[in-house]
C-alpha cells in the first residue's frame, strides 16, 4: 500500500477528525483564571452599550428649536451682564496685589480639602474598596461594580496630599503671599518618589486558594518605569503570592489584574502592596482578611523590603 501524499493528508485534515486534531484537542485544557472571568464579565455589565446610549439619546425634534432659542437668550443675557459688571468694577491697586499666576493657582478652600480627605478615608467593604478616578468614557476592564459606585473623584496620591496641605496654607493676604509661595514650592520639591498605589482589592474563590483582583494606579512611563508586580504578604512580612505584570500600563490607568491562588484562610490577615520598577515599594497598600474585608493602610516602604529580591521576579518588560 502506498503512503498518502502530503497534499492528500492535508486535504484529509481539512475534512476534520485527523489524529493531529484529536491529540491537540486532548491537550487543549487551559482556561483563564476565575478572577479574570469575573473581572471581564463585570466590565461588560458596566459597559453594556444600551446603558451608555441612554445618555446619548437625542431629544425629540419639536424640542430642539425652543431649547436652542432659550440657550441663546440665556447666554446673551449672561454675557451682557458680565461685561457690564466688569466695566463697573474698580481697578486694582498696582502694588501688593497677588500675581496673576497665584490667583490662577489659588488653592481650594480648607473646607473643600477636608471634605476630600474625609472621602479618602479607609472603607470597610469586603471584596473591594478604595478610590478610583472619575469614570472614564468606557469602563476600566476589571473594576468591580462596588468600586464603580464609590468612585466620584480621583484619590489624591500621597505626594499630592502633601502639596495640597501646603497649597491650603497659601493665604489670600498679599503680605504673606511670597512666604506661602515658598512653602508651597518647598513642599513640591520634597514630594516623595513616584510609587505604585494599590487602590482596590477584590477576592473570590475558596480558602487555601483565593483569587485576588488588585487595582493599581502607577505612574508608568514605559519599560523604564512601570508597576512590575503586586504581592500578598503575611503580617510578619512573608511573601505569600506575587503576580508579575509583564508590561507597562501607560495607556491604561488605573488597572486591575487578577492572580492567585493565594494560600490563605478566611481569617488570615495579609498585606497587599505593589512594586514600581525601578523605584521599589512605597505606595499605598491594603490590609485585611477575606472575612473582615480589605482597606487602605499606611505601610512603611521598608516593610519586608527583602521580598523584592525573592522569586518569582519579572523576566523582562514586554512593552
Amino acid at each position: 500500500m502506498t503512503e498518502p501524499k502530503p497534499d492528500e493528508l492535508f486535504e484529509a485534515y481539512l475534512l476534520g477528525a485527523t489524529p493531529v486534531s484529536r491529540v491537540y484537542r486532548e491537550g487543549a485544557q487551559d482556561q483563564p483564571p476565575p478572577a479574570l472571568d469575573t473581572a471581564i464579565v463585570d466590565a461588560a455589565r458596566r459597559g453594556a452599550p444600551a446603558r451608555r446610549r441612554r445618555f446619548r439619546q437625542p431629544l425629540p425634534a419639536h424640542w430642539l428649536v425652543p431649547l436652542s432659542t432659550a440657550a441663546v437668550v440665556v447666554l446673551s443675557v449672561t454675557l451682557v451682564w458680565t461685561l457690564q459688571r466688569r466695566e463697573l468694577a474698580p481697578v486694582p491697586a498696582p502694588s501688593g496685589a497677588p500675581a496673576p499666576e497665584a490667583r490662577v493657582a489659588a488653592p481650594p478652600a480648607k473646607s473643600a480639602l477636608r471634605a476630600e480627605r474625609k472621602a479618602d478615608a479607609p472603607e470597610e467593604a469586603i471584596g473591594s474598596v478604595g478610590k478610583m478616578p472619575a469614570p472614564a468614557p468606557l469602563p476600566d476592564l476589571a473594576q468591580s461594580q462596588a468600586l464603580a459606585k464609590k468612585e466620584a473623584a480621583p484619590a489624591p496620591a500621597a505626594p499630592m496630599r502633601e502639596m495640597e496641605r501646603a497649597a491650603a496654607a497659601r493665604p489670600a493676604a498679599p503680605a504673606d503671599g511670597v512666604r506661602a509661595e515658598s512653602k508651597y514650592r518647598a513642599a513640591r520639591a520634597m514630594a516623595p518618589a513616584p510609587a505604585a498605589q494599590v487602590i482596590s482589592v477584590a477576592v473570590s474563590g475558596a480558602p487555601g486558594a483565593y483569587q485576588f483582583a488588585v487595582g493599581i494606579r502607577s505612574p508608568d512611563t514605559g519599560c523604564d518605569r512601570y508597576a512590575d508586580w503586586w504581592e500578598v504578604l503575611s503580617e510578619d512580612g512573608k511573601l505569600l503570592y506575587r503576580r508579575i505584570l509583564d508590561h507597562s500600563h501607560v495607556d491604561e490607568q488605573p488597572f486591575v489584574r487578577a492572580g492567585g491562588p493565594v494560600p490563605i484562610q478566611r481569617d488570615t490577615v495579609v498585606w497587599v502592596r505593589a512594586h514600581l520598577h525601578p523605584q521599589g515599594y512605597g505606595g499605598d497598600a491594603f490590609t485585611g482578611s477575606v472575612r473582615a474585608g480589605f482597606r487602605r493602610a499606611a505601610l512603611s516602604p521598608t516593610f519586608a523590603v527583602g521580598a523584592a529580591s525573592q522569586p518569582p521576579l519579572p523576566q523582562g518588560c514586554a512593552f
Binding site: 482556561q31 471581564i40 469602563p139 476592564l141
Partner: protein, 191 residues
Amino acid sequence: MDDPRSDEALMLAYRAGDARAFEALYTRNKGALYRYLLRQCRNGGVAEELFQDVWLNLIRASARYEARARFTTYLFSLAHNRLVDYYRRQAHRLPISYDDDPERPLLEAQPAPMTAQPDVRVGLSRQAQHLIELLGELPEAQREAFLLREEAGLSLEEIAQATGVGIETAKSRLRYAVNKLRQELGNEIDS
C-alpha cells in the same frame, strides 16, 4: 445551560443592552481565545494581559458591532491585531514568519520562534504533551493558522480574513503547520 442563540445573536443582544448575552458569549469563547493567546505568546502573564485587552476592545466596540461575518472570525481578528501589536512593541517588528509569500516559500528556512519556553501541562498524555512542545517550535504565523483552525474552528477563508492575508497564504501556513506536526509526531499518532 448553554444559551441556544448563535454567537452573532448574542453579540447583537449585548449591543442592545443584554449583559447576560455577553456572559454566554464569553463562556462559550473564552477557552479558545485564551489558549490561542497562551500558545502564541508562550507566557501566562502576557496571555492574561492580552486576553483582557481583547475583551475590553470588544466591549468598547460593541456599540458599532454588525454581524457581517461570523462572530468568531471577528473576535479572533481582534485577538490577531492585539497580538501583532504585542509583537511589534516587544521586538519592534513582526516575527519573520509573517513575511511569508506562497509564491516564494521560505518556510523551511525560517528560524525558531521568538520565545521557546516550555509550555507543557501535567496530566496530559505523552502524545498531547509532545504535540504542544512541537507546536511551540513552529514559526508564529504557521502556529497561528493551526490554532485558528483548531481553537476557533475557522475555515481557510476565515483564517485569511482574521489575519489579513490572502487565502493562499493562509492555506500555505496551515499546510506547513499540519504537515510538520504530523511528520514530527510520526508513528505516535498513527498507532
